[in-house]
Structures are given as structure tokens and as C-alpha cells.
């Protein structure tokens, strides 16, 4: 019996907490409908990591993280694709949706033309970002940033 009472009490507490915090949450939530953000993941050879990071940065990209990794394709496949080393860099970039077609076509062209510059790139849509300043930073929206006086 005491367990049931305790459970009821807990439920009441939870209900009370949601009643007070829910409106704040709803009021503070904004939905971005146009020009949303995407995560662009680019996998390239380590020697070309800086080049590709600079290239992507030129498309109003303010934040990029590069991690080092290695490819796992077998030796036969590497020869088939004309690749010779498996040391890779993975570049994670936050990019605006309307810049994606430009980025993708630019990367595709560079992957084909640059020596040792082959790679793979793909985008994943972001579902949420917390903080308006962070969002402005990531989407390079300078209007909303207040100037220091």
C-alpha cells in the first residue's frame, strides 16, 4: 500500500513539475523552416584534409571538426579505386541547407580532378540546435548578433 501511495505522490510531483515548466519550454522553442542546418561529413586522405576543410569553409561554414581515422576497404578494392593508403581524415562541418548543392558539386569535382584527392561526402539533416547564438554562429546569420557597446 505504501508503495502505491509513494507512486501517486511521485506522479503528482511530476505533473506539478510539467505544469510549471511546459509553457516555458514551448515559448522558448523556435522552429526553423527555411534554410535549415545539415551536418556535412567528408572522408578524405589525411594529406588533403586541410585543403578540403578550407574549401568547405569558403561556403559560409563556421564550425568544422576534423578527426583522424582509417579506411577499411580491402587491398583489392583499394587498387580497383586507385587508392594507395588507408589513413583518412573525417571532416564534420555544419553547413546551411542552401549551400549543400554548391558544396556537393564542388566536392564531387575536386574528388575527380585532384591527385590523391579522392573521397566521399554526405550530409545528414540536423533536427535540433540549442541556443539562438549558437544557431546564428552555425548558420552564419550575423543580423541577430548584438554589437558590444
Amino acid at each position: 500500500m505504501s508503495e502505491i501511495k509513494a507512486a501517486r505522490l511521485r506522479r503528482k510531483k511530476v505533473e506539478a513539475a510539467t505544469e510549471t515548466s511546459a509553457p516555458e519550454l514551448v515559448a522558448g522553442r523556435n522552429t526553423v523552416k527555411s534554410n535549415r542546418l545539415k551536418l556535412l561529413i567528408t572522408v578524405v586522405g589525411r594529406s588533403k584534409a586541410e585543403y578540403y576543410a578550407d574549401l568547405i569553409q569558403s561556403l559560409d561554414v563556421n564550425m568544422q571538426v576534423t578527426a583522424f581515422g582509417h579506411g577499411t576497404a580491402d587491398a583489392k578494392m583499394l587498387v580497383l579505386l586507385g587508392l594507395d593508403n588507408s589513413e583518412k581524415a573525417v571532416i564534420f562541418s555544419i553547413i546551411q541547407e542552401n549551400k549543400v548543392p554548391e558544396a556537393v558539386s564542388m566536392l564531387e569535382e575536386k574528388f575527380k580532378t585532384i591527385k590523391d584527392g579522392k573521397g566521399v561526402a554526405f550530409t545528414v539533416p540536423l533536427s535540433s540546435v540549442i541556443g539562438t547564438l549558437i544557431f546564428s554562429f552555425l548558420s552564419n546569420t550575423r543580423i541577430t548578433v548584438k554589437e558590444d557597446k
Partner: protein, 116 residues
């Protein structure tokens, strides 16, 4: 190419990435990228569930055609899932734009039957 690919991420204990790749390749994946990482866990939960989380991790990132995504996830779960030594967690993300894949993988994505 929209909607035809999924990115599978698998977080395993360091040194087990080959196990993941072998399982994925068996069901048609071509290649992946391994990133070294450090995992964090809730110490209290670790004690409660009597498990230890090895902090050194490998993240295996595999781009696969949508048609074989379930098979790859299932194969990874079987060979490197949480109940195995690899203690792997795998999930997939929908991918919008893909560039740079070899024409061979692209033709396989369009005709998955050829892959079998």
C-alpha cells in the same frame, strides 16, 4: 541519389572494428572508416548493472545502400552487439546527398539484386 543511402555508425570497444567491418562486408557493405574515440559512462550505473565500460572506443562509419541497411545492422548486432566482447552499439542515419562513391557501389545501390 537522394534517399538511397544510410550512414551506419557503430561504436565498439577499441580493436573490434575489424569484426564489425567483416560482418558488414559479408552482407554487401563495401568499405568504411574507423575513428578512434573515448567513451564515457555513468559510474553509478556501471556499478549497478555490474558491467565495466572500456573507455577506448572505435567508431565505425559505413555508408550503405538503403536496401541492405537492415541486413548490415543485424549482422553487426550478431557479431559485435552489446552481448559480445565488442560491446557494440549501432545505429543508422538517413543521408541526403552522397558524392564520391565508386560507380561500382552506385550500380549496386540501384540494382541490389546484383549484389547477391
Amino acid at each position: 541519389m537522394d534517399g538511397k543511402y544510410e550512414a551506419i555508425f557503430c561504436i565498439v570497444n577499441a580493436g573490434y572494428s575489424e569484426l564489425v567491418m567483416d560482418a558488414a562486408k559479408e552482407v554487401g557493405a563495401r568499405g568504411g572508416t574507423v575513428i578512434h574515440a573515448r567513451g564515457t559512462a555513468n559510474k553509478e550505473a556501471e556499478q549497478y548493472f555490474k558491467i565495466t565500460i572500456q573507455p577506448e572506443k572505435d567508431i565505425v562509419m559505413i555508408l550503405v545502400p538503403l536496401s541492405i541497411k537492415d541486413a548490415v545492422l543485424h549482422a553487426i548486432y550478431k557479431s559485435a552487439g552489446l552481448k559480445t566482447e565488442g560491446q557494440g552499439i549501432a545505429f543508422s542515419l538517413h543521408v541526403d546527398d552522397v558524392v564520391g562513391l565508386s560507380p561500382l557501389s552506385l550500380s549496386n545501390a540501384e540494382n541490389p539484386e546484383q549484389n547477391k
